[in-house]
Subunit: 301 residues, 2 copies
């Protein structure tokens, strides 16, 4: 169902200036704010739009996941499946979407009790998986991702109504200075930057390789960087970055020989399920935006 | 004059493996090794193939250079001159070559007494400018430079016979983690990596924008990175990086809003002046490889 007024106009032909966020960043209030994240961590998340935890999972715990990903690289059927995106060179896997549906092991990880409790604390209640993916970013060949707000895309192309969703990026190979780590603009989640340009149908087929539509303008980006700078959390295998759905982020080309493989789980509040896409196009495929199962996640045992 | 045997075969159709360096790294011996660089610094240069100095020049000293560069950005004649390379988008200046010939101020800087004495100490005697350039790398728009050895190009395309040349990169805008700083592979200067592929005539017209020929293979690069890692010296305006002509280096896209403008002076030993290009092509233009004035630089007063 499309609402009468679109609170986050974007993908228009004329440029609109950025405006201040209208949704809370941490959605829990009062007693509900208590949980695995300390008040100081919640404050930091509210201020910066992300939190990072070095070595959140043990390296040993992660070994089995890495092994599984190695198998996928040699799986020709998976390479041809719609949820698998190849690098522009078509040689290497860039991303596999819906990884929690491909694999029971990854599905359980989305329901890791510690992780899920933190997500629920931020979202103020129950959550489901809106999207999951693994980004491989192989050594030498892995291209970058230009600056963007996930929410801007999810709102316009998937019909996500409000900013009440959080991404967890789990580091599967050490993220260092040179293998194209996730970069974020602290504080950028506090502004919505409308982007210029109508969205073509099936835009995702291009945008998952190289984003042209839904890219914030240079002037707004510059303002937000001058205000908040850029940060790139580093860490060993098992490190975790949680970032708010509207935090501007991107990553550079991997010019090193070391792959930068990160797992992304996107949790959306069950109070924030999808409408029709606000850009007016047909909904994107299920592997990008879950429309079939919004039942709350229960912690894995 | 072409020598009968080419000691550094490259740009061939078949891949040759990398081999160990045959030239000294520091060319001074005995008493001549004494100079502005300490024995420890010379050792580090020999080991890593580069040295970096934070704030080597005062920020105040650099202000006049920056102002001059600002003027060049608005100089349409200069934009059209052969020594000026535009970004692939053709909007922004990527590099201006021969900057010491365009400007007396930059010419004097090449003869800065402290700088020149360090260069002479490394090269074991008198030096002249083989090439000078400024790389602008504007915010958001500045593309990177893929991994390469300058010597590999200067040998094959300019006829530089041996490894007896050093580059000084002077930082004109703060170089940080996110604006595409110079990256180097420590220890890589100790190996020559022959590159595959015949050199087209006028290759420089493409290679200065995006290098396709003279790029080391992934396997050799990986070996050298695993052995030596990657380093990216950072620093404020006026910082200096001196690197050996065969040290593998590159830089990433500038995804930040902050320009990364660096000045490069290439000093070559007067004992190492140019022959005919070893790749067999016509020599490249003067702005890339000085063939007309090999007289030794004298310190500016």
């Amino acid at each position: 169902m499309k609402e009468t007024q679109d609170l986050f106009p974007t993908r228009l032909e004329r440029k609109l200036g950025m405006f201040e966020r209208i949704d809370p960043v941490v959605h829990s209030e009062g007693e509900q704010r208590k949980g695995p994240l300390s008040e100081a961590e919640l404050d930091e998340f509210e201020r910066k739009g992300f939190l990072s935890f070095e070595g959140f999972f043990d390296e040993d715990e992660m070994a089995a996941f890495l092994e599984e990903l190695g198998d996928y690289e040699n799986d020709d059927d998976l390479k041809l499946s719609e949820g698998t995106i190849l690098e522009p060179s078509k040689q290497e896997i860039r991303s596999i979407f819906g990884i929690h549906e491909v694999s029971e092991r990854f599905s359980r990880l989305t329901r890791d009790p510690r992780l899920l409790a933190m997500v629920q604390q931020i979202l103020g209640g129950d959550a489901y998986i809106h999207q999951s993916r693994i980004n491989y970013k192989p050594g030498f060949k892995g291209k970058g991702f230009d600056w963007h707000s996930d929410f801007e895309t999810w709102h316009s192309e998937d019909g996500m109504p409000r900013m009440r969703s959080v991404s967890c990026s789990i580091i599967l190979t050490e993220n260092g200075e040179f293998n194209g780590p996730l970069m974020l603009v602290p504080g950028s989640h506090n502004y919505f930057v409308p982007c210029v340009g109508r969205t073509p149908e099936n835009n995702y087929k291009e945008s998952l390789k190289s984003q042209e539509i839904g890219v914030p303008d240079d002037a707004s980006l510059r303002d937000l960087m001058i205000q908040g700078d850029i940060e790139a959390p580093k860490g060993p295998v098992g490190s975790l970055v949680m970032f708010e759905c509207n935090t501007l982020h991107g990553s550079n080309i991997n010019m090193s020989c070391w792959p930068r493989s990160n797992l992304f789980f996107v949790y959306n509040s069950v109070e924030n399920t999808l409408h029709d896409p606000y850009c007016g196009n047909r909904p994107r495929p299920e592997f990008l935006a879950n429309r079939k199962d919004w039942s709350p996640l229960k912690p894995a045992k």
